[in-house]
């Protein structure tokens, strides 16, 4: 364990009956780091967070948060951890202010005492402080939930899919807030199914089926992408995908919105030859561009390798 590790996980495995939710996972998160777990539903993110927040017991392996063991010292962790579950879990029949007040009270503090911590987030929903939490919009709910998870000044913050179901603007705002919290020295573990959010983390762990495929900085993940990549655009995206797959030397083809990302094993790709091939197959307005891989490309590639 590195001395500055805030969260330490070693060979963690969790089974639910026959299913393996987490398979021999190890990682360290440094103090003050913004660490992201990226992966689709069912990757094991929620299970991992529940084990770290002492809600579930691991099948094998050890974990500690701020040096406290999640099994032996669970009571101590419950004093220093802030947790925001994936499902909106506040009292819908209480108002915004009552919810925040309640969570402050059960952690033995008051809103006034720690107002400076949540000010930036809470100020945005404060105009609605007398509104019932159940009547808030998705983005405001998340802000309130984050405020409630923060109000007791936790050392480590666990945010399970905080931006799922939130509009693009609110998502950006949310990540801005996380950055500021990080600057205040709080260790933040956040999970998300959105690949584009990975670049906002200090380090990310790409997860799939209970495995961590890689742990690295987002930049490093992209740099380690082993293939060359082209973005291909044409009128008929559906047929385009099929024909690209037939093209010699193509490793993989994925649709990204209205474009196709095509990867090649050998680094030298003749753009013009590919363009000619497509035009011959009656594709119109073909645009081909070499691009840098996104986290999603990396994720797909890692997933292919694991299978």
């Amino acid at each position: 364990m590195t001395p500055a590790a805030s969260v330490h996980v070693e060979q963690l495995t969790k089974r639910f009956g026959e299913t393996l939710a987490l398979d021999n996972i190890s990682f360290d998160v440094s103090r003050g780091e913004l660490f992201g777990f990226i992966g689709p539903d069912g990757a094991g993110k929620t299970t991992l967070f529940r084990i770290l927040t002492t809600l579930l017991l691991a099948t094998t392996g050890t974990c500690s948060v701020e040096g406290f063991d999640v099994v032996k010292d669970y009571k101590k962790i419950r004093n220093i951890a802030g947790y925001m579950p994936g499902k909106f879990s506040l009292y819908q029949d209480l108002t915004v202010e009552e919810n925040l007040n309640f969570f402050a009270t059960i952690f033995g503090t008051t809103i006034r005492e720690n107002y400076h911590l949540v000010r930036e987030i809470y100020q945005q929903i404060e105009p609605f402080k007398n509104r019932k939490a159940g009547k808030l919009s998705g983005g405001m709910k998340q802000k309130l939930a984050l405020s409630c998870a923060m109000i007791h000044k936790p050392d480590v913050l666990f945010l399970d899919e905080p931006t799922t179901g939130v509009d693009a603007v609110s998502r950006l705002e949310f990540w801005e807030m996380l950055k500021r919290l990080k600057e205040a020295g709080i260790t933040i573990l956040v999970s998300t199914p959105y690949m584009d959010e990975a670049s906002l983390c200090d380090r990310v762990a790409l997860m799939q089926n209970g495995h961590i495929m890689t742990i690295s900085t987002p930049r490093e993940v992209i740099r380690n992408y082993p293939l060359s990549l082209l973005s291909v655009k044409a009128g008929d995206i559906y047929n385009l995908l099929g024909e690209l797959r037939k093209y010699p030397g193509v490793h993989s083809v994925y649709a990204f919105g209205q474009t196709a990302h095509v990867s090649f094993r050998n680094r030298e790709v003749e753009k013009d030859i590919l363009s000619g091939f497509l035009k011959k197959n009656k594709h119109e307005s073909v645009e081909i561009m070499p691009i840098e891989a996104t986290i999603e490309d990396c994720f797909m590639e890692l997933m292919n390798n694991n299978h």
């Binding site: 529940r50 927040t53 002492t54 809600l55 579930l56 017991l57 669970y74 009571k75 419950r78 004093n79 951890a81 947790y83 579950p85 499902k87 909106f88 879990s89 506040l90 009292y91 819908q92 029949d93 209480l94 009552e98 007040n101 309640f102 969570f103 009270t105 059960i106 952690f107 033995g108 409630c148």
Partner: protein, 367 residues
């Protein structure tokens, strides 16, 4: 302590913002009381009877008068022949028929016996049984008064119903209703409110806080002690004012015993919520496993003595039974703790057992 207070305040918010439940909580005792008091009564009042009196002499008239002036019966029809008995019962209004033999007074004078037939409509056996008893009671009363000068050697058992001389239904259903409603509010409401937190996911947040398990549990049930207690008072006051249900013993002891019973029911509610994670299951368990036995096996509606042996044994495990015994003893007989200490101890034991199991089963983690 501050945490605990904050928790209880939150719990009261939940309760007072849920108007519908609140209405049920406080409307139910009144409605139930009225239902049991006025509709479901098994008291006899103005039962319709038919009389076939072929002799029409002094004695039969006197007997008929006695019966009709008792307040229990009213005459629906004078029958002209025995053949009319069957159709008159089939019409359904008439519950009882009196048939005198011809020459009733003469026979009574000559031989010392005359026969009278009482026919009850046993499609409702309980009522029929009671009506027949009432009628024969009135007749034998009359005979006694007639024979008063020349007392024949006869043993007439005189049954006197103590503490509820008029066999009033209220005396039975007010205690029964209290047992039932307090059980419903305490056990059902607490088990629902705890499982609701589990369903909403807020239990997760409470667990990941420094709140201790007992603080969470006690904080959740605390408000329901008051609600249940308020309901108990409503039933007692209504029962007393509207139906004349007496409270002969100490009110303080009565409330104390009710408090004990509420605690027992609350711990049962906690136990239910500790074995399930969904409101629906909690509701099913509360209704099916608690309510039905409370109604059926506590002696509330059906006397325990009439049940088959195995049911009687089962009745011993029904906490409401003991509560009903206790409050009847206090309210109707004016007894003190000296008479009900055994039942009180049993209720305490139930409470301790339920609480013990729930604390053992309470999970500091998710299951």
């Amino acid at each position: 302590m501050k945490r605990f207070r904050g928790f209880v305040i939150k719990e009261f918010y939940h309760i007072f913002r849920d108007y519908r439940t609140l209405l049920i909580l406080f409307g139910m005792p009144a409605v139930q009381l009225m239902l049991f008091g006025y509709v479901l009564t098994n008291e006899i009042k103005d039962a319709k009877i038919a009389i076939y009196d072929p002799s029409k002499d002094v004695v039969t008239r006197k007997i008929s008068d006695k019966i009709l002036s008792s307040g229990y019966f009213i005459l629906e029809r004078n029958l002209r022949s025995v053949t009319e008995i069957d159709p008159v019962f089939r019409q359904g209004d008439v519950k009882l028929a009196l048939i005198y033999e011809p020459g009733f007074a003469q026979k009574l004078e000559k031989t010392g016996t005359a026969r009278i037939q009482i026919i009850g409509d046993a499609s409702d056996p309980n009522t029929a049984n009671m009506l027949v008893n009432y009628a024969s009671g009135i007749i034998s009363n009359y005979l006694v008064s007639m024979n008063s000068e020349q007392v024949p050697l006869q043993i007439i058992p005189e049954v006197r119903m103590m503490y509820n001389g008029e066999l009033k239904g209220v005396y039975m259903f007010v205690p029964g209703l209290m047992a039932m409603l307090l059980m419903l509010i305490s056990a059902l409401m607490t088990s629902l409110s705890i499982t609701r937190e589990k369903e909403l996911g807020t239990m997760e947040l409470l667990l990941v806080s420094p709140m201790k398990p007992w603080q969470i549990i006690v904080g959740k049930v605390f408000p329901y002690v008051f609600l249940a207690f308020a309901d108990a008072c409503i039933i007692l006051v209504l029962g007393n004012l509207v139906f004349g249900m007496p409270i002969l013993g100490s009110i303080f002891l009565l409330l104390l015993e009710s408090f004990l019973y509420i605690c027992m029911a609350l711990s049962l509610g906690i136990l239910i919520s500790s074995i399930t994670n969904s409101q629906q299951v909690a509701m099913m368990i509360s209704l099916v496993v608690l309510m039905l036995p409370t109604i059926l096996l506590s002696g509330f509606i059906f006397p325990v003595e009439n049940m088959p042996m195995i049911m009687q044994v089962l009745c011993h495990f029904m906490p409401p039974k003991y509560y009903i015994i206790i409050i009847k003893s206090i309210m109707l007989q004016g007894n003190g703790i000296g008479y009900v200490w055994r039942e009180t101890l049993i209720l305490m034991a139930f409470t301790a057992i339920f609480l013990g199991i729930s604390i053992k089963k309470f999970n500091v983690r998710l299951t």
